[in-house]
């Protein structure tokens, strides 16, 4: 890591910023603020630049000026219309662009949600129930779990009587799912921390090797 002066310098900055962020665990402090404010500026700039080179150029510039697809000027004009928001008087014009944006987004979503979230989930829960082995019984439990959890999501009926008991089983099922989700995630999060600690260890390892070699 500390091989030449250039990477040594960069890695030192990276090490410093890593500690700045960790310091937030104790409490908010100027070091965290430095890292936070720098990363906001740098990342916003990075995103804008990438959006220009990897977005605007291939999606608008090239089609219009290189491939002769003049009809790509239409979304370009809609994009420019977003800039009317800089003015109080004409900002309503940007609503037309937003309207296209939202209309396309919601329209695309409708059949996809019906298909992937409702029908696909429904058909893959239509499992055979039998009592020959555990699979058949587990299938029954899955179906009961889904039914009860769906009852929990009923808005227009009060959770009372039989509905109430079923809804209770439903929320229990959901909670088991959440507990499981929490439990399986721990390992991945710990790995992330291990990676950071290893980064710091390697940095100081190579730093001290270098220090002993050249300074002492």
């Amino acid at each position: 890591m500390v091989t030449d002066l250039n990477t040594a310098l960069w890695n030192t900055i990276a090490m410093f910023l890593t500690f700045c962020i960790f310091s937030f665990l104790y409490k908010d402090n100027p070091f965290y603020k430095i890292a936070e404010h720098i990363v906001v500026g740098v990342s916003a700039g990075y995103f804008a630049v990438i959006l220009y080179w990897n977005g605007l150029v291939p999606k608008l510039w090239d089609p219009v000026f290189k491939q002769g697809k003049w009809y790509y000027l239409i979304p370009g004009i809609l994009g420019v219309m977003m800039w009317t928001r800089f003015s109080k008087k004409y900002s309503w014009i940007s609503r037309l662009s937003i309207a296209f944006y939202m209309g396309i987004a919601t329209g695309v979503a409708v059949p996809l949600y019906v298909q992937n979230y409702v029908i696909r989930q429904l058909s893959s829960t239509m499992l055979p129930v039998h009592f020959q082995n555990t699979t058949g019984i587990f299938n029954l439990l899955i179906i009961i779990g889904v039914l009860c959890a769906l009852i929990y999501f009923f808005f227009s009926k009060e959770h009372k009587g039989a509905m109430g008991s079923a809804a209770k089983v439903g929320i229990w099922t959901l909670m088991v799912g959440f507990g499981a989700g929490f439990g399986v995630t721990v390992m991945g999060r710990v790995s992330l921390l291990i990676d950071r600690v290893i980064f710091l260890r390697n940095y100081f390892d190579s730093f001290f090797t270098w220090f002993i070699k050249y300074i002492l």
Partner: protein, 403 residues
Amino acid sequence: MRNNYSNQFLILLIIFIFFLFSLSNEIFAQADTLPPAPPTEVKAFDTPNDNGHSITVVWKLSLDDGSGKKNVMAYEILRSDSSTGEFIVRGMVVPGINSYLDRGAKEKEDKNYFPPHKNFYYKVRAKSLFNYSESGVVGPAQAYGQWFHTGKLPVFVGTLAFTIMVLTFINMARKGKEFYVRPLAGIEAVDEAIGRATEMGRPILYILGLGSAADIATIASFTILNRIAKKTAEHKTKILVPCNDPIVMSVAQETVRAGYLDAGRPDMYQEENIFYITSMQFAYVAAVNGIMLREQTATNFYLGKFYAESLILAETGSVAGSIQISGTDEIAQIPFFVAATDYTLIGEELYAASAYLGREPLLLGALKAQDLAKAIVMISLVLGALAASFHLDFFLKLFTVQM
């Protein structure tokens, strides 16, 4: 696609080179000298439910595929412009497979362009190590695009039925029918949370999540933001909305302004309180963490699409001592919101929240439609499970989407 062809070419070349190389080799002696039986009953037809740039070829497996001499190594699918013309290899499949989708690009400029409405002839070749045998030529077949995707029929029926249900219930509500909805803890807490911020004289923080304005969870969050902005305007409490997408920011500005207008206080609306930070996940989170601690927000709302940052936000908010109300449809993040925030809207509850907050009859009508749809889903599920248990496949097919 082009890459695939070169791969196929490569492996054919390898087999061929090896063939030459092994002419004098001991393996040749033990290798098959007779070709496998040819594939039979070859059919080529326009691929159903496609855009018009592919033809499907099916055949009956060679008698030596998996049985007989067991020496089929691959099938090659060949195509020509005329029944007597030169046939070129379009693709290769492994033994046991009896169909091939001969597909190409839809752009004329593309090298791999597949012209629609043009006659093609096909034959299929069963290959053993050193020999092959061919089926007869079939055709002509033409590719053409379809105007309705029959495999998506269940989705079409579902979408149409649900749309009709939603519109019907909304119409009933418009005519004055009132619908009951049961109380939801997360929603009841909203008023209390806004009241607390007012008492303490501290701002409210509203996070729309990491989604773009094209994510439906974000759109649902806009509708909630509108109602909450109205309430904050009534209470004269400041609301901060840091955004991570410029379009989300623009729409959020309109939404909050509409809320202030609804409350009759357009003068109090301050555009700079709904602002953009950055689009990069953890840089955004670092900044929001800072806002929570420095602005001392009394109440934090996290409603919309959330990823790994959910727990970072919720824990920082809890350090700051804020009341926190969360909601997302991202299943992997719900556990963290449940554990670390005071109230969580789980999945569908997020989408129901705007109807609850506004108590607008039309929106409550839509909720009723969702409940009816859920009841239909549950009944279908029970019937489907019975059908699966008694092997009534026709019923299961009604719910199967074929892409």
